[in-house]
Subunit: 339 residues, 2 copies
DNA sequence: AACGCTAATCGAAACGTTTCGAACGTGTCA
DNA sequence: TGACACGTTCGAAACGTTTCGATTAGCGTT
């Protein structure tokens, strides 16, 4: 900028004024300055600007795993939304690890991000202090966080799983295996509640042996399913509360020599592009990923636009059960639903 | 930092020296400073640091679509690698649009990223100037770029497709439909060459009617497949050079009332987690995503570590044909390969 | 006792912006 | 003609660091 000012024979203040439109500058100087900018190929240094202005026009986004199709989509939507608004987004993946996440949030904060969208693992942690200091607006994504009172957009997980399990019960299933992630995540707790309540509402017992938990990876789903399938009185259906784990479920079923849905019905959380292409077409709980991403982005953009004092807003969206043919009716005519 | 210095009754220079270990500071002051830091809850301002140092410890990463499973995985690997190295990564998605991409690269450069990893759409463009100015190291990912001579890691696309098509030919296929993306991308050109050469090597004609191109989206694959299947003499196999488009292919096959692989064989580029879970299990060309991501990260980290003058390095990795059961032998016993 | 050497500490400039208040020239009005 | 307002332009401070050269104190040597 100094060079531009010199070349145009004006002060840096004038150049800055022109660039930001903060003051009127005469046509003559305008032209000289623009010429100098072109000649020199000047680009404003956003770092210096950030230092002075106290804003970076950058936000931080942390998710557990970008390879989980739900997060893939949501990250994509959020990225687009902020791109449109002229913000850059720094992406971090926590691998569901609390310490990693705290470190990454610190990293982002160090870099003075203007805001944070967090799919939090675990409760409280470093996030609590950040939200309380209120310097950086935070919106919680997908997962609520005990003791952290801030904007959030989540699914009505309890209801979504309730509906899915109820559907299985209507099909005649009585022993329904349930594979969950770790319970330090609100999402997982709520889904589990949905499972329990659906069973109770139907007067069915909640058998502890039918509930397995894993750490969100395919292999965990595989192991959990293996355990369920080797039960003395094995379930006739399995619901996986997490998408990557259901891959393990399908592989375990295959490896043990069973077929879905003939021998065992399967449903899971989160829809994905391939779900209705292959056989069996998986019955899933679809989240409105587009809406979730956009709402989260909007909440944060609204704070960034200056609306700091509004009370925390919590958006709860509805899931949708995508009924396909990976679950078959029991008891009645044992007829395959599959195509 | 000023506050810390005052509280510890030292100069800011001393605080800085302690924090960076650039000079020895006495045990006594060390203790006073550390105490003050704790009391105040001081966090170093990375923006001010960046301004002074001229480095942000942040890199930019642009890909066409994060929802393409290849890029999902590669982004994940790259993000992890830089996270380990203490770098933040800014992610941009270009939606295969040249202007969007140029804008995003400018955005990243404005923010003074230390380096860039780019899965480039189109040739040349803004990138050329950047690489020539040599201020910011750039590594090309997945796609080479005419006239841009810099580090790159790509697949041997030509060979990979050659092998896949040859495999189909060995199965007895003679008319093999080919669905490609736009030809302004080196990857697509190379794959197309592989297709042509495989046919020629087998003495088969390259029929223009069997080649369709689309814009990388599911719908494009759908339309292309519809066209291929409504050909008078329709192909017995289809190869999709792009992963998202193959979803459209499978849906078109289903909608038209055909079955894969009984009526038509399908293979495609890029493996994905679901590929061997469902029926049919798709035959794919798997890229070594882990290696690609790590190599790209390493190339850039090496430049960032100061190795600026080494000549451009181009890494070419090998794809691997994952033979499953979506392609059936022709001519011989018309027996289904599928499980 | 004077000297030089080393280790510890500090003051101040610099990075590239933004912004505030001052200064300047010109035209208008009493 | 003098006062005043207005539109333009500018100088300089500030943002929070790092770093260079200077300063000081302590200590062993001659």
């Amino acid at each position: 900028m100094l060079h531009v000012a010199e070349a145009a024979r004006v002060s840096v203040a004038t150049v800055s004024a022109l660039l930001n439109g903060t003051a009127t500058v005469s046509p003559e100087l305008t032209q000289r300055i623009e010429q100098a900018i072109r000649d020199i190929g000047y680009k404003r240094n956003a770092i210096a600007r950030s230092l002075k202005m106290g804003t970076t026009r950058t936000i931080g986004l942390t998710v557990p795993h970008i390879t989980n199709p739900f997060f893939t989509d949501v990250v994509s939507v959020i990225q687009q939304a902020f791109d449109r608004a002229g913000y850059a987004v720094m992406l971090c993946c926590t691998d569901e690890d609390l310490n990693t996440q705290d470190e990454q949030i610190r990293l982002l904060l160090d870099r003075m991000v203007d805001g944070l969208i967090v799919a939090r693992v675990g409760d409280g942690g470093i996030l609590k202090g950040i939200v309380e200091d209120a310097n950086v607006p935070v919106v919680l994504l997908d997962r609520l966080c005990e003791g952290v009172d801030t904007d959030a957009v989540v699914l009505d997980n309890q209801r979504a799983v309730f509906d899915a399990i109820t559907y299985l019960i209507h099909l005649g299933h009585r022993r329904i295996g349930y594979i969950t992630g770790t319970s330090d995540i609100s999402t997982m707790r709520d889904r589990m509640t949905g499972y329990r309540e659906a069973l109770q509402a139907a007067g069915l017992p909640v058998a502890q042996e039918l509930v397995r938990s894993g750490n969100f990876h395919e292999i965990d789903g595989y192991n959990a399913t293996m355990q369920l399938l080797s039960l003395h009185d094995r379930p006739s259906a399995i619901f996986s509360a997490n998408n990557p784990m259901v891959i393990g479920t399908m592989k375990a079923i295959r490896d043990i020599g069973l077929n879905c849905p003939e021998d065992i019905s399967v449903a899971c959380f989160d829809d994905f592009p391939w779900s209705d292409v292959f056989v069996p077409q998986l019955t899933t709980v679809a989240q409105p990923v587009q809406a979730i991403g956009e709402q989260a982005a909007n909440l944060l953009l609204d704070r960034l636009a200056g609306n700091r004092d509004a009370p925390p807003r919590k958006l709860v969206l509805k899931g949708r059960l995508m009924i396909r043919n990976s679950c078959r009716p029991l008891g009645a005519v044992a007829q395959t639903v599959s195509a």
